[in-house]
Amino acid sequence: MSALLSFLHLRKSFGARKLLDLGPFAIGTGEAYVITGDNGSGKTTLLRSLAGLEPGEIAGFTFHGVPLTHGRLPDSARHEIVYVHQHPYLFHTTVAHNIGYGLAARGIDGAERERLVEEAIAWAGVEHLRRMPPAKLSGGEKQRVALARAKVLKPRLFLLDEPTANLDGEARGQAIALIRQLVEDNSSLLIACHDRELIELPGMRRFHLANGKLAET
């Protein structure tokens, strides 16, 4: 399996505290990875660093064969990597507009955008929320909209930060079902989580982050 994203080392410190000190790591195309670790172990920082949202020291960083420097990613990578926050932020418009936001940013407009948005809405099962302002959505509904908003872009890599955190019951099950579909569709995923059911999804490669180091389990 060819590497979609790889780096030789990634280091991140907060003052004197060294949070991440990772050696060579690669994410294969079409593979799904889950990273576990205690709270504060650096899972979120790792995902944010790879998304270009967190300054850090990354050496030998390549994405889809293109060498990158740390910091703000070039458009070629930024359009192919989507990061979803632990508590997704939805713009104060409508669910449909949120899902279409990234398409508009890529210059996809009109009927084509509408069609793709409708597909994503159906995929996430949020048809009844189409015109709803996000403030009225539950945590689970927000997570499903955020996943649809990411999936509609068909990114090469999904970075999902604790996608089932603070969800329980049906909402958690629905989020896991969507992620399971992404895995089954051979999407490339890197998921930070504590959720046992997600960790044990078939086809997942599992890593544990502790003391700044990643180890496959």
């Binding site: 998304a51 270009g52 949202l53 703000r72 458009d75 930024r78 359009h79 990597i81 989507v82 990061y83 979803v84 926050h85 508590h87 997704p88 932020y89 713009f91 104060h92 936001y101 990234g102 940013a105 890529r106 908003r149 990411a150 872009l153």
Partner: protein, 231 residues
């Protein structure tokens, strides 16, 4: 003239469609709204940049804007007068005692209010808004516009506050406008003039209009606070 009689005459003037009175009100509105239209885009961009970017001199700019919030409007008028007077560096523009000069002055007065509100609004924005826009592939400009749209109610509240400051200021309007009837006489300068002449009726009538503007602004801000979730 007792105060009750002056007040009765004031309302009579207001409701009789007195041309002179309504010309004064129109000049006030026109000058202040154009001044806001001129100042708002640049002030919002500055507020956004100061909130989002770190660069040398940023702190000084923030302190300067905060200091200018309470800058005396008459001093703005004085500086502008010196610049625009026939012998001044901008004397060839021949703008002194025109509405354009008043617009320039009011734009300068409104600018720090607008910038300070935009700065506070963007600083108070959820950082995930900008990050989400960037992560979904937005260009820096689109991400900035998205962030500003997310805090639009706070930004618009700044515009209302700026309007409140310029519609009622007298010092600058008097100095660079000259209080010329039908040309540069606005509500505050007319109140000052009519009161000094002992004509309280027109002063009271214009005072009522100013208070109605203030009340309208308060109501609009209240509505915005409700819609924007501001406290």
């Amino acid at each position: 003239m007792d105060i009750l009689e002056a007040t009765r005459q004031a309302f009579s003037l207001l409701f009789s469609g007195d041309t002179e009175l309504w010309t004064i009100i129109w000049i006030s509105l026109r000058v202040s709204l154009i001044a806001l239209a001129v100042a708002t885009p640049a002030a919002v961009v500055l507020g956004y940049v100061l909130a989002q970017k770190r660069f040398p001199g940023r702190r000084i700019l923030v302190v300067l804007i905060q200091g200018l919030l309470s800058f005396p409007t008459v001093v703005v008028g004085l500086i502008l007068y010196i610049l625009l007077t026939r012998q001044g560096p901008l004397g060839s523009w021949q703008l002194l005692f025109t509405q354009e000069a008043m617009i320039m002055g009011q734009a300068v007065i409104a600018f720090p209010v607008l910038a300070a509100f935009a700065l506070a609004a963007v600083q108070g924005a959820d950082p995930r808004a900008h990050e989400t826009a960037v992560s979904l592939g937005a260009s820096p400009l689109r991400a900035a516009l998205t962030t500003l749209l997310e805090v639009r109610f706070a930004v618009v509240a700044g515009v209302f506050n700026g309007f409140g400051r310029v519609i009622s200021e007298v010092g600058c309007a008097m100095m660079v406008g000259g209080n010329i009837a039908g040309v540069t006489r606005n509500i505050p300068t007319a109140i000052a003039l009519e009161t000094s002449k002992g004509d309280f009726a027109q002063g009271i009538a214009l005072g009522v209009v100013l208070m109605l503007f203030a009340l309208g602004i308060s109501i609009a801000l209240g509505v915005l606070q409700g819609r924007g979730g501001l406290k």
